[in-house]
């Protein structure tokens, strides 16, 4: 007799459940994250369910039903979950099953069995079925039954919506270990593969998530790998579907020019549905190649239509939307109290981020040193459609071993609500220069160590610790010598501190100034050409511990600054 041992049978995947597309990912034991394809081979699985005489279709198969069977096809239901009918915007469902109100929740009047009669199917049933399909795909792929998941949600998802989603997942036999915010998940997908995962640098990141029905901009302060959201912006009017409709209008006009007597294809639902599907494909092609062909059989009354569009034409047509996205990003940065110069990374997520022009339009708003992660600007970029799912899978692998109680305690406000520094703490150097060490918006407690040069001749050295602030120095660039300026405004984030070429008239750069002294210390007898190591620890109660020693030397200076009462 062999005794049945219960091996740790928890299989935990990351799920990005979007309004239009979902994706699932799994991080294997070797740390490799893989996005899982469903049985059709799609890694971006449309969040669509369709019913044809009792048979359920999901994903791209359901999407194809939008032409022939729109009234029994449910799209864009994620944002409706856990909401009341009066609070939702049913526009995205205009050409498919319409949402209706049903006892304080939302339902779709569809025919999901072979009875032929439409009846209301509640939003939670729909969601449960979709999640069950995702679970089945993941289980098939992994060969093991998926039991747990980490789900991504938008930053403005309410607790009620999370509860509803959790209940649906439980119905689908998935227990949700953790909800994480979509932008943070995308950011994690990037940070997990950066080389300095052990001690990540401090940076401000803008996560731009352009989906099909909504665009979100999130400004995140990343301090030693801990993320704090500084500001968010949501836009439901500039997103993938708007870009599609630009193409729809273009092709519809071209069609009408060719067939002057024909009716407008945008006026018949079936023609419109065909155009929508094809224009989405055209848009995707244009992200990869410089021209794409729109081709629909029997667009209106048996007339076929084929037309090629090149990328620049499309960019011209959609430039209005690209500019709007740029403004949205800038508004987010301003809302966070930052300047574009403070942003060191931009992470592009969401399907529409494949569009090269969007990435370049956003990149143009920031200094050259700001890295933009999108397929168009960075060859090693994570696929923007998969970033959120990957991040969720990484988080899943991190917490898969944890007891659920542990997770609950860790995400409790007691742990997550943390004081953040209001001012940058740094060192004052020769000539009143300022070296930021612990940046503003850093959660405390924090510990930072810097090594700085002592005067050339060595001897006794003064270490002054102060709070500082960042100012933007604007100079008109006609005859500016880069070198002299560079010496004055030395700066840890030196990448933020030099000129931008885009605006030759004006050069903006970051200048640090000490504002409020905190402590002073003297280190005696530093060797010639020696270096001094300063460690600043700020405790949760804002007490500061300072530890200073010469590199390679003995002893050192320690001191404590009490917090103001």
């Amino acid at each position: 007799m062999s005794e049945e041992e219960a091996p740790d049978s928890r299989v935990c995947i990351g799920v990005s459940f979007g309004n239009s597309y979902s994706s699932i990912a799994y991080t294997a034991a070797d740390g490799k994250t893989e996005v899982i394809a469903n049985e059709d081979g799609d890694r971006q699985i449309p969040s669509i369910l369709s019913y044809v005489s009792g048979e359920e279709f999901n994903g791209n198969q359901a999407k194809a039903q939008l032409v022939r069977n729109p009234e029994n096809t449910v799209v864009c239901f994620r944002d409706f979950l856990g909401r009341e009918f009066k609070d939702i915007d049913p526009t995205p469902c205009h050409t498919s099953a319409h949402p209706i109100s049903q006892d304080s929740t939302i339902a779709f009047n569809i025919c999901d069995d072979d009875s032929g009669n439409a009846h209301p199917v509640s939003i939670s049933t729909i969601t449960t079925r979709h999640l069950a399909r995702l679970k089945a795909s993941a289980s098939d792929y992994l060969g093991r039954n998926v039991t747990h998941a980490v789900l991504t949600v938008p930053t403005n998802f309410t607790p009620a919506q999370q509860e509803a989603l959790k209940a649906c997942a439980a119905e689908a036999k998935i227990s949700i270990l953790h909800f994480i915010h979509e932008p943070i998940s995308s950011l994690l997908a990037y940070d997990a593969r950066s080389p300095d995962t052990a001690s990540p640098s401090d940076k401000n990141v803008v996560v731009v998530d352009i989906g099909a029905t909504r665009s979100d901009v999130t400004v995140v302060a990343s301090r030693g790998g801990i993320y704090t959201i500084l500001a968010t912006q949501h836009d439901y009017d500039t997103a993938g579907t708007q870009l599609d409709s630009v193409l729809i209008d273009h092709f519809a006009k071209a069609f009408l020019q060719k067939h002057k007597t024909s009716t407008d294809p945008r006026t018949t639902p079936r023609s419109l549905a065909k155009m929508k599907l094809e224009c989405e494909n055209v848009k995707k092609h244009l992200s990869l190649s410089t021209s794409a062909t729109f081709s629909v059989e029997s667009l209106v009354s048996g007339l076929d239509f084929t037309l090629t569009i090149n990328r620049s034409r499309y960019e011209l047509l959609a430039s209005k939307h690209f500019q709007a996205l740029g403004r949205l990003v800038l508004a987010g940065v301003t809302k966070a109290g930052l300047d574009p110069l403070d942003v060191s990374e931009i992470v592009m997520a969401g399907g529409s981020s494949h569009t090269p022009r969007i990435a370049s339009a956003i990149a143009a708003l920031f200094p050259e040193e700001t890295r933009v992660f999108s397929p168009a600007t960075d060859n090693n970029a994570v696929n923007p459609s998969e970033a959120a799912a990957r991040g969720a899978a990484i988080q899943a692998s991190l917490i898969a071993e944890f007891e659920e109680k542990d997770i609950e305690e860790s995400v409790h406000a007691v742990v997550t609500s943390t004081p953040h520094l209001e001012a940058t703490v740094g060192l004052v150097g020769a000539g009143d220069s300022f070296l930021p060490v612990v940046l503003k918006d850093t959660p405390v407690p924090v510990r930072k160590t810097v090594t700085v040069a002592a005067p050339k001749d060595g001897g006794d050295v003064l270490v002054r610790i102060a709070e500082g602030e960042r100012a933007i120095d604007v100079t008109v660039a006609e005859k500016v010598e880069k070198k002299t300026n560079g010496a004055k405004t030395d700066d840890e984030d030196s990448d933020e501190a030099s000129e931008s070429d885009d605006e030759p008239e004006e050069i903006r750069k970051v200048v640090w100034k000490a504002t409020k002294p905190v402590a002073e210390a003297g280190v005696a007898g530093v060797k010639k050409g020696g270096k001094v190591e300063v460690q600043i620890s700020v405790h949760a109660d804002l007490t500061v511990h300072v530890q200073i020693r010469e590199v390679g030397g003995k002893g050192g200076v320690r001191g404590t600054v009490e917090a103001s009462s």
Binding site: E3, I184, S410, E520
Partner: protein, 441 residues
């Protein structure tokens, strides 16, 4: 990096206690929510929840990591070694339990290659003949050979499958009918199927589930077991093929015998499994439950229809009864009515008789209109005839009226007047001819 940043020299006259002085304090912080995501947050949460400082946490984490690797090394091989097993002869390797030799009897077919490797290493360290010799024991390396043989088999996937196929210690005996009736069906049979599932080419093997499993799940489960694709082989139990080149016939004979034996055992095993699944299916309460549910579903419509028919029939019977009752009531009412009319008729007849008598009596009272003295017989007869004539000519009501007029009248003139009036009326009405009643006119 801040290669251009330089610290200033200590100004003249600067001094402080222990070379450090605090001047100010940090600005007030703002309270924000950090995102509970990522490895660095987990470290933060750990520090915060256990109230550790950075350096404490680093120290404890380092310790934990070290401990973990040590545990892994020790974990796999804590099984005590059977002294009988240690005495085994390596030549009899076919009879040995390879898992027990390596101390993996807890894992058996579940043991990973990694575990086998580790276990082998551990055993080698302990039982290497050189170690025994150093400890002053004999240079008996038979158990060491057992270990090598076991590892050889368990690390070769083909040989391991052959061994696993006949590893009786991993088999789970199916429970008897009595045992399963105590409500242990799912637990006991679940173990059996888990053990049998190791032979499946298709993984994962569906679980038996419990009483709450759905019908498709249960159907999938039994379908899987009735179409079981097993990799079980019985080569391990082959008879040794003689390895000499001299007797080729003998060799072929043994090979043929082995092949037949394998085939036979495989057939037996398939039959055994089928029998086992049959047994489980027969005892499975869920099948009965689903059948009943299905039966109920199928019969639902028929029962509804029957109920409807029954209801209609009952209503018809009720209606019939009501009609019959109404008919009876009606008949009775008619009967009663008839008796009434008969009575009335009789009463009318009697009244008529009485009236006639009164009318006739009235003429007698009037002495047949003969004045005083006896009336002559002729006169009497003529009067009576005419009175009878009048009576026959008038109906009962007129008779009653005539009688009422005559009632109490005793005087011959009055009575005659009344009769004369009646005759006149009858003549006027045309029922009596002029001259027919001469006496009474």
């Amino acid at each position: 990096m801040p290669h251009t940043f330089t610290l200033p020299s200590l100004p003249e006259g600067w001094s402080a206690d222990k070379n450090f002085k605090a001047i100010g304090s940090l600005s007030k912080p703002s309270q924000r929510i950090i995102e509970p995501v990522g490895p660095h947050f987990l470290a933060h949460a750990r520090r915060k929840r256990h109230k550790r400082t950075f350096s404490e946490d680093e120290r404890i984490q380092a310790q934990n990591n070290v401990k973990k690797t040590e545990d892994d090394d020790e974990g796999d091989i804590s099984e005590p070694e059977d002294p009988v097993m240690l005495q085994r002869d390596a030549k009899d390797w076919k009879g040995q339990d390879h898992y027990a030799v390596l101390g993996l009897s807890k894992y058996r077919w579940r043991a990973t290659e990694e575990q086998v490797r580790k276990a082998h290493r551990k055993k080698v360290l302990k039982h290497h003949p050189d170690k025994k010799a150093a400890a002053g024991g004999s240079e008996d390396d038979s158990f060491f050979k057992c270990i090598q043989k076991a590892t050889e088999i368990l690390l070769d996937p083909t040989k391991r499958r052959q061994w696993d196929s006949v590893d009786e210690a991993a088999d789970v005996e199916p429970p008897t009918k009595k045992e399963t009736q105590k409500g242990n069906f799912y637990r006991l049979w679940g173990r059996v199927f888990d053990a049998e599932g190791r032979f499946s080419r298709n993984q994962p093997v569906p679980k038996l589930g419990d009483e709450n499993s759905t019908k498709p799940e249960v159907e999938d489960f039994y379908n899987f077991w009735y179409t079981f694709d097993s990799w079980r082989t019985f080569e391990y139990q082959d008879e040794d093929v003689p390895d000499d080149n001299e007797n080729r016939d003998q060799k072929r004979h043994v090979e043929r015998k082995n092949a037949n034996a394998r085939k036979k055992k495989k057939t037996e095993d398939t039959a055994r499994l089928r029998h086992l699944v049959d047994d489980a299916l027969a005892l499975d309460e869920r099948i009965k439950k689903f059948k009943q549910a299905e039966h109920a579903q199928r019969n639902k419509k028929r029962l509804e229809r029957e109920a409807e028919e029954k209801r209609v029939a009952e209503e018809a019977v009720k209606a019939k009864e009501a009609a019959a009752r109404a008919a009876v009531e009606k008949a009775e009412a008619e009967k009663a009515g008839k008796a009434e009319t008969k009575k009335a008729k009789e009463a009318a007849k009697n009244a008529a008789k009485k009236n006639k008598r009164v009318v006739r009596g009235a003429v007698k009272e009037a002495n047949y209109f003969a004045g005083a003295g006896d009336a002559p017989a002729k006169q009497v007869e003529a009067v009576l005839n005419e009175v009878d004539l009048i009576i026959t000519k008038i109906d009962n009501e007129e008779l009653a009226g005539l009688k009422a007029k005559l009632d109490g009248k005793t005087k011959a003139e009055e009575i005659k007047g009344i009769f004369a009036e009646e005759v006149k009326r009858l003549v006027g009405a045309g029922t009596l001819k002029e001259g027919e009643a001469k006496v009474l006119a």
